[in-house]
Symmetry: C2
Subunit: 306 residues, 2 copies
């Protein structure tokens, strides 16, 4: 099932309801309850056996369920305010729930997000769905659709860490910076807010840099060039993996929850921890260049645990 295709085919119908500024198709919806301040709403599920192994630490699941939604809020340039939780679970002991709640509240506390409602249901596998509401100044939400020809493509932080961490986890390695990056991702809320009024388009890197950048290009109706050798990677990934592996992780691995955005270099001068990795062109494709040559990378999309 291809999420994008599904949503487009069956759920993206014309909206005539008042107050809907941006509906389906971005990292979040932009809503205008009343003039002056826009609201951003996002929803994301983590499914046992798909987004985390069945034997995962409950606190990590709770933390991550919040973090992935925070990342969508960040990609919209909004500040998170409230969230609700729908939790489907088999019989779990009290310790599991206490740990899950601890992880959830730990992630929420970092940005003072309140849990304001919930629904628990029984089911064979754990499904944790968080809905989050954020706020942003009217008309200022960062959309995927604003990239302009000539803009520079930037990435925050380093990418590929989470996919590398997942690879280590699968091989039984623990206690590593890279593993922390996949289990406890940090959403780029402050960065997203800094980019408001400066970036022309933004998306969070949840499905892999190439896949997510392509979505941004499609939404903006432009093409792009990505300079592979400029893609920022951590020292940790460089020390654990050879070049071919780490480039694969960085370009097609998911779960990094960094931001990919477009802007003119002037607009983002002085913002730390961002790297220029390419440029927007007037085509309609993404071209990857490595040391001068055009290279092809398969867009593997989300890396399932199972």
């Amino acid at each position: 099932v291809d999420e994008f295709e599904l949503i487009n085919r069956f759920f993206d119908r014309p909206v005539t309801t008042p107050g809907v500024v941006t509906g389906i198709g971005d990292d979040g919806a932009v809503l205008e309850p009343e003039p002056g301040r826009d609201q951003v709403q996002v929803i994301d599920s983590l499914v046992e056996g798909v987004h985390f192994p069945a034997d995962s630490n409950a606190a990590d699941i709770g933390y991550r369920a919040v973090a992935v939604n925070l990342s969508d809020i960040a990609a919209m340039g909004a500040r998170p305010r409230w969230m609700t939780l729908a939790l489907t679970l088999p019989q779990k002991d009290a310790q599991w729930l206490a740990d899950f709640a601890d992880g959830l509240f730990e992630a929420a506390a970092e940005f003072d997000v309140a849990l304001v409602g919930g629904d628990t249901t029984s089911g064979d596998a754990v499904v944790a769905t968080v809905h989050m509401t954020g706020e942003v100044e009217e008309g200022k939400a960062l959309l995927r659709s604003g990239a302009q020809v000539g803009d520079t493509i930037f990435v925050t932080g380093t990418v590929g860490d989470a996919a590398a961490g997942l690879d280590l986890l699968r091989r039984g390695v623990h206690d590593n910076f890279l593993i922390n990056r996949v289990l406890r991702p940090s959403a780029r809320i402050d960065m997203g807010c800094s980019l408001v009024g400066r970036a022309s388009a933004a998306i969070d890197v949840s499905d892999g840099l190439i896949g997510d950048l392509k979505k941004l290009l499609d939404a903006s109706g432009v093409g792009g060039e990505l300079d592979v050798e400029r893609v920022p990677m951590s020292d940790a990934v460089k020390s654990c993996f050879d070049e071919a592996d780490r480039i694969g992780f960085a370009l097609t691995g998911g779960d990094d929850y960094e931001l990919c955005f477009t802007a003119t270099p002037d607009a983002v001068e002085g913002i730390a921890d961002i790297t220029a990795v390419g440029r927007i062109t007037d085509g309609n494709e993404l071209v990857c260049r490595q040391d001068g040559d055009i290279v092809e990378y398969e867009d593997s999309g989300y890396r399932h645990f199972q």
Copy 2:
């Protein structure tokens, strides 16, 4: 797993975040993005094999996923505006998805609710989680906690129809008014709005009249008396089931999505389709009376399909 106990134990922590008027513990959260108008947010999941049989009609599942959330919005006296969908599903064919979407949009169109976002994930069983946002005048949301000693207890429409319909479904009966009541419940949005400023407390009857009324009494810190012979039942349920069965359906069956509320009789004069079924007392228990005798009914709670 008892939902109520779970939520109280692990998720209902003190909220200090600005803008949260009412958090966990009611039919929905009441939020104040800015002064003047409050927002109500609710979230509810339907799980395959628990809330609907695995072979259910996809359009019915889609319809019901929206309706159960509309009912929570109604119980708060709010008007629904926007919703998001998180859909976990195994490989389903396009026809299933098209049907699901049709049912979902049909229910949404009845109250002009826009689908503004979504997330689809793969999993072994279908889980459809809808989050809905509604609006209500500042400070006017109907809470569970406002019932006063001496208030009358009312129920809208008729109760027990859904549990009766489920019983018929299990016995292979189709094409019946009662079955439509369980597959296509009608949320009492207009009723909820009519009760704003008139009812002292309200809850929707999703888990059974006795169970839900007890929640309202607990939240209000009061007791109540229920006159069993006054509980409104449809002609359909009367014609298909004997008295013992239909009283069981009406008192402990779930899924009716009617409203149970408290008010003085004067306050709700002129409102049609409501029935006085009891009164609020200064105790802390619910007493059921039938033809003058005190009777005990087991609070069976939600009727699982499995």
